[in-house]
């Protein structure tokens, strides 16, 4: 018997361009990359040089702090480029796909958790607190596996999952914790497990955020650590342990108002957007913003040089909107403007029909003025305004007391969306978490 939890505070933003269930196979992408920025918590060092031959699961980057923890190549091929940015920081390492795909032999020398760390799957997990790649020595209190993504236009995650492999993966994970493995499933999904405790959530964003799931199942306290991962990673662990193979294949949804025909594509982690999005973007006069991920937490990418970023299984295409000159926008009666407040006439036609959002912030930055805005979309037993003020003030004691260990930047995405004062909340929370980690280590 699975537990069921109803999230009441939240918002499903009605954005146009949901992917239909047609799945095409992307066989034209030849370039795949790993971006170390997607794996916060460690300093990553390159383990390869351009021109090196690599296999699936070969280490491309390793953690300076614990060198067995690796970021691995999603494909077999040749290392093409190590792109460095400011202060020689590695932005990405790209690998040119070759026809023969095989697993790196070195992985056979590793067992158990070491195998997970070496294969690159460990880096695909996160820990609370801090929302970073887990610390290598700390055993988790519990492990939370998420089987759905409630973000705007996100694809269904359970579609392409081999349930036996998933179950095997959950069994492996169970061995790493004295506590429980929790599997969070969306309402209406038949997925369940004998190893993990299944918890059913209603599909109201941010119910799919693992932080919300933890807060409603068993909150993280100071001094505790839990691991979080998606079912895709759990399935990959299951495959690695039962079949001795590693596959970074994934299904990606191409979505958004500017997607020509929103649909699903089967490709691999880190695929180059130049080929993945070929012919997928609507031809408009407007500049198009390409987001690797969803509109709330995704990363703005250049369509020519960008890649599919971890952990997203979604590309969202929206208008940039920076050429729109709106005359007296504050007085606008335009029915195409979405607001959760009933201050624009759009609510008359109902707020569930899809809107074409663009990237404008639609107002000026102000101090926190309206109260209770964030709380309506923030299903934690936390006062978000007070936590943010503690973060702005860099008051570590207050941050801890107000529950910073329970949250991740993504949990502040909806508050940031509805914020009348247009503040950058996710950035603030990320800075707060980093500051706290630096000061308390």
């Amino acid at each position: 018997m699975s537990k069921s939890i109803q999230i009441k505070k939240g918002l499903n933003i009605p954005i146009a361009g949901a992917a239909d269930s047609r799945t095409t196979i992307d066989d034209s992408t030849r370039l795949f990359a790993v971006c170390p920025d997607d794996f916060p918590g460690y300093t990553w060092k390159a383990a390869v040089k351009p021109g090196d031959k690599v296999e699936i699961g070969s280490t491309l980057l390793f953690a300076k702090e614990a060198d067995i923890i690796s970021l691995s190549s999603p494909v077999s091929g040749t290392v093409k480029e190590i792109k460095r940015g400011e202060r020689r920081k590695i932005e990405y390492i790209s690998v040119e796909f070759s026809e023969n795909q095989s697993l790196d032999n070195q992985l056979k020398n590793f067992k158990g958790l070491d195998l997970i760390k070496k294969s690159g799957l460990f880096a695909m997990m996160r820990q609370r607190p801090f929302d970073i790649v887990p610390a290598s020595e700390v055993m988790p209190r519990d492990i939370f596996v998420t089987a759905f993504d409630s973000a705007p236009l996100a694809p269904v995650l359970t579609q392409s999952i081999d349930r036996n492999l998933l179950e095997e993966g959950l069994k492996v994970l169970k061995g790493f914790t004295k506590g429980s493995v929790y599997l969070s499933v969306a309402e209406g999904d038949s997925l369940s497990s004998n190893v993990a405790e299944t918890v059913v959530f209603n599909n109201l964003h941010p119910a799919g955020n693992v932080g919300v799931q933890i807060a409603n199942i068993k909150p993280v306290n100071k001094g505790e650590t839990v691991w979080t991962l998606s079912i895709k990673t759990a399935e990959r662990i299951g495959r690695l342990f039962t079949q001795n193979t590693l596959s970074f294949e994934t299904i990606v949804a191409i979505t958004g108002p500017d997607a020509k025909n929103p649909h699903l594509v089967k490709t691999r982690d880190g695929a180059s957007l130049a080929t993945l999005l070929k012919g997928e973007i609507k031809e408009t006069e407007e500049k198009v913003r390409v987001i690797s991920g969803n509109v709330l937490t995704g990363i703005k990418e250049n369509v020519q040089t960008g890649f599919l970023r971890f952990p997203y299984r979604q590309i969202t295409l929206i208008d940039e909107g920076d050429h729109a000159d709106e005359f007296m926008g504050w007085a606008s009666m335009n029915p195409k403007k979405f607001s959760v407040k009933r201050s624009f006439p759009a609510f008359l036609a109902g707020l569930s029909k899809p809107f074409n959002f663009d990237a404008r912030i639609k107002g000026g930055h102000r101090a926190m003025i309206l109260s209770g805005e964030y709380d309506k979309v923030f299903p934690f037993d936390i006062y978000p305004e007070y936590l943010l003020k503690a973060i702005y003030a860099k008051d570590i004691e207050k941050m801890e007391k107000l529950g910073i260990y329970e949250v991740a930047p993504e949990d502040f995405a909806l508050p940031e969306f509805v914020d009348t004062s247009k503040n950058e909340l996710q950035k603030a929370v990320r800075e707060g978490l980093d500051y706290l980690r630096k000061e308390t280590l």
Partner: protein, 396 residues
């Protein structure tokens, strides 16, 4: 609009750093963003935003104030012609008499207040903030119609500088700016802020025999047992008169009916908090009920029934438009109930038991403004305690 935009964009560099009119940058920016919504796009975090911004929020509040404002103007005219005994005036004559009577006040409040905002924004290098759009219309509405403009200017300047800007501007003030203005006037120029000579605009014309310009609450404070409240001509006031606001008072706040329309607009659009309004009305009603139940000849105001108490004076206006000011009110949900309730209770205590202050709403809101952070602190502390307790259990 493209042409206008082009023209403005052409002169824009002159107002930017190093330009000829660099010192007017904030003013230019204020007008620019007023005309054209900035097309700044998101750089970090979410890629899309809700359309509601601070300008829209303030405009909606001003819109919600309009019924009270327009009625108030008409009522100024109505009271004037009632007092001077001129009959047979039509609706527009009444309205425009009031309109021209209060226009100088509105202009004074906006010019002084916005002027200071512009200067401070320029000094700090900030954008102009919209908070004063609301305060600027609120301030004249809660003052007697005969308030001299120079007094208003001094009070507005005091309030904007010392109640708002010294704390950091919109969003950082802990006292409601409009009420600080009112309190400044009330304590600095008491003779012009109370009594029976300031609430009806006579316009240098003689009043009819038997005229009394006192507000009902003013009358009440000095009333003998058994007396009735009367209008300016000495005729008794009915509950309908009171509900619709046909009596002298601070000109924007007499009509409960119009205030309720404003409240509906605020609540429907989601700009104000219903918890504060509801608990405030409940608090005031209960306190008025208590006072009325243990009525005393010593305190004539206790003789009023709770419903009339609610509709008289500035209480409804204060609870709908002042108490719900999100910056100075409690920010936690539980805190809002306590905050609103106490405003209601304190208003009625002052009104009933302190004959020196016929109306208590202003002082009640200001008092609770001071206590709002404390109330929030207690609510948040409970949350912290719960979290600490949870963390202790596994260790013990």
């Amino acid at each position: 609009m493209k042409g206008l935009k082009k023209k403005i964009d052409q002169i824009k560099p002159k107002f930017e750093k190093g330009g000829k009119f660099e010192k007017l940058h904030s003013v230019f920016d204020g007008f620019y963003t007023f005309l054209f919504t900035p097309n700044e796009t998101s750089r970090s975090g979410v890629h899309i935003h809700d359309s509601n911004d601070s300008k829209r929020t303030m405009i909606i509040v001003v819109l919600a104030l309009l019924p009270c404002c327009l009625f108030g103007m008409w009522n100024v005219g109505y009271q004037h012609f009632l007092a001077t005994g001129e009959t047979g005036k039509n609706f527009l004559e009444l309205f425009f008499y009031g309109f021209f009577a209060v226009l100088p006040q509105i202009l004074t409040a906006y010019i002084v207040g916005l002027g200071i905002e512009f200067v401070v924004a320029q000094m700090r290098g900030h954008e102009i903030q919209e908070g004063f759009l609301v305060s600027g219309i609120l301030i004249p509405m809660i003052c007697p119609v005969d308030t001299p403009c120079w007094m208003l200017a001094v009070a507005v300047a005091f309030a904007v500088i010392f109640a708002k800007e010294v704390f950091g501007g919109t969003g950082y003030n802990f006292l409601n700016v409009a009420l600080v203005t009112r309190a400044f006037l009330f304590f600095s120029y008491p003779s012009k802020m109370s009594g029976d000579g300031v609430f009806v605009s006579l316009g240098n014309q003689p009043a009819v025999d038997g005229f009394s310009g006192a507000t009902p609450l003013g009358e009440l404070a000095s009333m003998a047992p058994g007396d009735q409240m009367t209008n300016v001509l000495g005729d008794p006031l009915s509950f309908t008169d009171i509900f619709f606001g046909l009596y002298p008072g601070s000109w924007g706040e007499t009509s409960t009916f119009c205030i309720l329309i404003g409240a509906l607009i605020l609540l429907f659009t989601g700009m104000a908090n219903w918890r504060i309004m509801l608990s405030g009305i409940v608090g005031a009603f209960l306190m008025a009920l208590v006072a009325n139940n243990w009525m005393s000849d010593l305190y004539p105001a206790t003789a009023l029934d709770p419903l009339t108490q609610l509709c008289l004076g500035g209480f409804m206006f204060a609870i709908v438009f002042m108490a719900t000011d999100p910056v100075t009110a409690c920010r936690t949900t539980a805190g809002k109930y306590i905050y609103g309730f106490l405003i209601g209770v304190v208003t009625m205590i002052i009104r009933c038991y302190n004959a020196g202050y016929p109306e208590g709403a202003m002082l009640a809101v200001l008092l609770l403004n001071c206590f709002a952070p404390l109330i929030d602190h207690c609510v948040v502390s409970l949350n912290i305690r719960k979290r600490m307790k949870r963390a202790e259990i596994p260790n013990s």
